[in-house]
Amino acid sequence: MAPFAGYDMPISYPTGAVEEHLICRRSVGLFDIDHMGQVEISGKGSNEFVSSLVSSRVSDMISGEARYALLLDESGFVLDDLFVYRLQNSWWIVVNASNREADLGWMRSRAPQGLVIDDRSDETYMIAVQGPQAIELMDSVSGGEVSKIERFTSKRIEVAGVELLFGRTGYTGEDGGELFFPARKAVELWELLLAKGTELGIETAPIGLAARDSLRFEAGMPLHGHEIGPTINPIEAGFKWACDFTKDFVGRSALQAIVEAGPKRKLVGLDVTGGVPREDCAVLASADGAVVGVCAAGMYCPTVKKYAANAFVPPELAKVGTALAVSIRDKPRPALVVKRPLYLPAYRR
């Protein structure tokens, strides 16, 4: 167990980080992600408010849809990344645990009169069910309702008498979803899912933070504080697709200038030989060993069986196939720019 964003969380369960990662990719992983924050926005002007605050296009979202979005500051730096759910009468926004207070402060400081911003984090429990057999497992406890829910949409369903919001989204690259329900039902639902897996012969295991990290990393998803963050803009991190320049949003003009001038650095994937690259390892030019960049994250990837890093390098060195090096324990180790993601998410195949 280790402290994470103010919570005591398992880095891994007795199964171990590598096996937990593999279980999620071959059957079902359960993630206790209650540390995440949930903010509900409603009331007068809420649609315009949300649209003006996040980078992605949201005004065309119909009830039930869920979409990835970035929260930017005026300079175009990423304050947080979010999942935005359009509900019947409100906006349900999932935020990173470590940024919850700051995000709420940011939103409240810009909220117009009549807007309602509720922090639903403490009363809401959140778990993720992810893997190729996740939908089968969820169908078995929801009377077949979950398989009818399309990717990137959500629906209120009932599981063992508990009403919950199921969003067919996730942070692993596997099929499955994220469940939001009253906190007092957490243990009951968690144990029910594990027991159901056993009953049906579906391998189901709890997954810790280390495997959560390697799963999202392989699938090309960012972690705030690493690939995106308060000193990083979406253009250099490869998230121009999450920015809707046809609408007004905080940070838009700053980003437009960056798009026009071209970003000063680019996020690339590196396949490294001879050690485990990690955050803050220097990236070197292979020729003369000069420092050209830095790793934002790095680890062993159990599914693709590589030692890989996400790193910021000058745009001219960002082409796939470029030979570079990563400094690990003061020694340059060969690194090759590779295509991202390392593992193509199930819903993109």
Binding site: S12, V276, M299, Y307
Partner: protein
């Protein structure tokens, strides 16, 4: 915690086991369990002369890298080539197939000075 009765140990959790004229070096079961899943191992080159306590390698687990220290002085005569393709051997069989290096010892008395199995077990249990 599995303790190999034929080994002697360092407080830093390396073991040393006599095998003929050589010393087999690895990390204890307690160490592999504390480290978690091991994903990469870097070892000193064959032929390297080391003093007791010198770094002879690095074991990388999912979240951190740990230095490995020579339990005895001597020359590295072999490094476990299997670990490049299967670093998990350290977790699965730390005293057997997960051995790290073999050292030709230069100071025979050093082995006696290491922690005996009972003493190591007592120390490790405190952690």
């Amino acid at each position: 915690m599995k303790i190999d009765p034929n080994c002697r140990y360092r407080s830093s959790h390396e073991y040393a086991r006599k095998d003929g004229a050589e010393i087999v070096v690895g990390i204890s079961d307690h160490a592999q369990e504390s480290l978690g899943d091991i994903v990469f191992v870097e070892l000193a080159e064959v032929g390297k002369t080391v003093a007791q306590g010198d770094a002879i390698g690095v074991v990388e687990s999912v979240k951190a890298a740990s230095d490995i220290y020579a339990p005895v002085s001597g020359t590295v005569v072999a490094a476990n080539g299997e670990l490049a393709g299967d670093p998990a051997l350290l977790n699965k069989d730390p005293y057997g197939r997960g051995w790290l290096v073999r050292i030709a010892p230069s100071k025979a008395a050093e082995w006696e000075g290491l922690l005996d199995p009972a003493a190591y077990e007592k120390e490790a249990a405190k952690e």
